[in-house]
């Protein structure tokens, strides 16, 4: 199977896979233990949660930042854009202790394109011409980076949820009021999916705190601006298929 990233391969394949990644344990932020303000959701709050992912898709996309605490001293930070209508995204990557070779990433349901610090010597070692990008299959189980990308992509849905079931789901609760980037927010926990900071006025998603696809690492996604965005990947001639450098690429990851 070719992994050349033409525009078609960057188009969506399996939204359900990405959405499934949003099933995350609650409480991973460490600051939403049952406290004095926690209480069951009101109907209006349940409706806000039920609507939020659909509203994201309606908006089209977002500018976002992501902060992930991977382990002791290890972090992944992203700053980028997501187009939820096509499941395409782009981000600049700043990582410490893990995924340290990646500087930028494009992704879709079908492919992940990496710009890596070590790509030029890898290609030279393989006897290939230099390109700034390498493309590979998504690996939401094995790659920490891909788990985070799946969470970002999963913050939108083609259908509203049922607020009665949201309210009834064990763990769903109002946690507290808060302020995000100067915006009044209500902080709600949705069952085991995670914690949502919603604009107190219009219900739009300001921040999501959950976990990665394998439920091992906390992820905080801030939607800095929710708006329509267009993500165009690099032209195919600037991309090398990882299959062409499989051995040296695997060795690079191992180090």
């Amino acid at each position: 199977m070719s992994r050349r990233p033409d525009r078609r391969t960057l188009l969506g394949r399996a939204a359900a896979v990405v959405l499934a990644a949003l099933v995350v344990p609650a409480g991973c932020g460490g600051d939403d233990e049952p406290g004095s303000t926690e209480r069951p959701l009101t109907d209006a709050e349940a409706a806000m949660l039920a609507n939020v992912l659909f509203a994201d898709l309606d908006a089209g996309g977002a500018e976002f930042t992501v902060a992930v605490q991977v382990g002791t001293g290890a972090t992944i930070n992203l700053q980028g854009e997501i187009d939820w209508t096509t499941h395409r995204g782009y981000a600049q990557v700043s990582a410490r202790g893990v995924e340290t070779g990646v500087r930028e990433v494009y992704w879709s349901d079908d492919a992940v394109l990496e710009a890596r610090d070590d790509l030029a010597p890898l290609l030279e070692r393989a006897g290939l011409a230099a390109t700034p990008w390498v493309v590979r299959d998504p690996d939401p189980v094995g790659r920490q980076l891909d788990q985070v990308l799946a969470v970002v992509t999963g913050l939108a849905a083609t259908q509203r949820d049922n607020p009665l079931l949201v309210a009834q789901e064990p763990g769903s609760a109002y946690l507290r009021d808060d302020t995000v980037r100067g915006i009044d927010a209500v902080v709600l926990r949705w069952g085991t999916r995670g914690t949502f900071w919603l604009d107190a006025d219009d219900g739009r998603l300001l921040r999501f705190e959950g976990d990665n696809a394998t439920r091992t690492r906390p992820v905080v996604v801030d939607l800095v601006a929710v708006r329509s965005v267009t993500i165009d990947g690099p032209p195919a001639e600037l991309v090398t298929d990882v299959a062409d450098i499989a051995d040296v690429y695997a060795a690079a990851l191992a180090t």
Binding site: P40, T158, R160, P163, L164
Partner: protein, 455 residues
């Protein structure tokens, strides 16, 4: 039983039902017989008590007609002023409001089904959200709400709050008594008509289209004691959806066409009270539920007529089911639930990819006491299904059944599905007597139900 509530000012009326239950002669399997006994009991109750309807304006009656917009500028203002048993009568107009009804026994009626429109403008939650007992919604249209056209919600306590430990929908911990009649619901964001944790309902003369989930949904109730009849659901993801809706559920003599899936009683863990048991699906016209121009539900189905998804002791009787590329009638697994003790009898099931399908959990190598008999069909999986899964149902060996659904095609945004044309209005709506919704729905006489004619 006397039903409180006058009807027309200065007029008193007394109606006595002449309906008598017919002898039930069906000999189905044990589960089916149990359901039919329930039907018979219901019929007797209706004859003895439920058929007597008093509708007089006695001097001591407090019930009142409250007219919108003549007396109240909004429907909600009239409801807020209303007392138990009142009629809120709504004249023609477009009402951009989300009405909440928490008054027992209220009747909310439009004078014209087509011209009395509740419009959510894709920003309001529910057209009518009912949390009180005995409420009826009649003769109006509810469109473009973010959630539901009309919602009957029993998952709330008497004080208006939700107990996180309650098992809503079980026994009396439910909304009791509801009726919806001559109502059009379309282009709402979840369901057209939604009865959740509600018992004792009548859903009739409903038209539902353009919903990305189901046109009519009855969920999380045990017993439900609800009758869905004389209704039509088209161009929805699913026509009728009954998750964990158990006991005394009758979906009869209705039309489910051009949805992605016609009818599906089913068991799911996402709601309480699983597994689903005891639904009767009888005398329905279920055709061409393979509409790519119907909105798609997430994790969707496509091209199925009637799917009993992990249900138990359901009866599928004398329906006409045709035009489904996946299957006509299927007793199929759903999640962790496998179908058990269901009866599929005397249906006309032709022109489908597979007419009759039994698809249990892969670990099941027997019939699960499910049975098929007397159906008119051509294809089945397993082959010769009526010889393998005979009625009455018993545990018979069945080899592995392999079937995979093709990926469903994408669907349109539910907001873009064309609105339906005018539907028949309630006769004499402006002047007709009114009565609160009974907790006991009318009896369904299965003996009188026939396979509907081909369209």
């Amino acid at each position: 039983m006397r039903i409180r509530g006058p009807h027309r000012a200065g007029e008193t009326c007394l109606l006595v039902s002449s309906r008598r239950p017919r002898k039930v002669s069906e000999k189905l399997n044990a589960a089916a017989s149990s359901l039919l006994r329930s039907t018979f009991r219901g019929a007797i109750l209706a004859l003895v008590g439920g058929g007597l309807v008093a509708c007089g304006a006695d001097a001591d009656d407090q019930a009142t007609v409250r007219r919108v917009p003549e007396q109240y500028p909004t429907i909600q203002a009239a409801v807020d002023d209303a007392r138990e048993g009142d009629l809120v009568l709504v004249g023609p107009g477009v009402y951009r409001e989300a009405v909440v009804v928490d008054v027992d026994g209220l009747v909310l009626r439009g004078t014209d089904r087509t011209d009395v429109v509740l419009d959510g403008e894709d920003r309001l939650a529910n057209g009518v959200a009912v949390t009180a007992d005995g409420v009826a919604v009649e003769n109006l249209t509810a469109r473009r709400y973010q959630q539901n056209g009309v919602l009957f919600n029993g998952a709330v306590g008497d004080d208006g709050t939700r107990d996180p430990d309650a098992v809503y929908g079980s026994g009396d911990d439910a909304l009791v008594g509801y009726r919806i009649s001559h109502v059009t619901v379309h282009n709402n964001g979840l369901y057209g008509v939604y009865a959740f944790a509600a018992r004792g309902g009548l859903i009739e003369q409903v038209y539902a289209s353009g919903h990305p989930d189901s046109g009519i949904y009855v969920g999380q109730c045990k017993p439900c004691d609800v009758v869905v009849r004389d209704s039509t659901a088209e161009y929805n993801a699913i026509g009728y959806y009954g998750t964990n809706a158990s006991g005394g559920v009758y979906v009869v003599e209705s039309v489910f066409a051009h949805n992605r899936l016609g009818i599906t009683p089913n068991s799911q863990q996402m709601e309480l009270l699983a597994p689903q048991v005891e639904t009767v699906i009888a005398g329905n016209l279920v055709v061409d539920n393979a509409a790519a121009d119907a909105p798609a539900v997430a994790d969707g189905f496509f091209g199925g007529g009637i799917a009993v998804g992990g249900g138990t002791a359901d009866i599928v009787l004398r329906n006409r089911v045709t035009g489904h590329p996946s299957y006509g009638i299927g007793l199929v697994r759903l999640g962790m639930f496998t179908p058990e003790a269901n009866t599929v009898r005397d249906n006309v099931v032709t022109g489908n990819g597979i007419d009759l399908l039994y698809l249990p959990d892969p670990t099941i190598d027997h019939s699960g006491a499910n049975c098929f008999a007397g159906n008119t069909f051509v294809t089945s999986l397993p082959a010769d299904i009526e010889s393998l899964l005979t009625c009455p149902g018993s545990r018979r060996p069945v080899g592995p059944v392999a079937w995979e659904q093709a990926p469903p095609p994408p669907g349109p945004d539910y907001r873009d599905v064309p609105a339906p044309g005018p539907q028949p209005s309630m006769p004499g709506a402006a002047d007709a007597a009114w009565t609160r919704a009974s907790a006991t729905p009318p009896a369904v006489d299965l003996d009188t139900i026939e396979v509907p004619a081909a369209p």
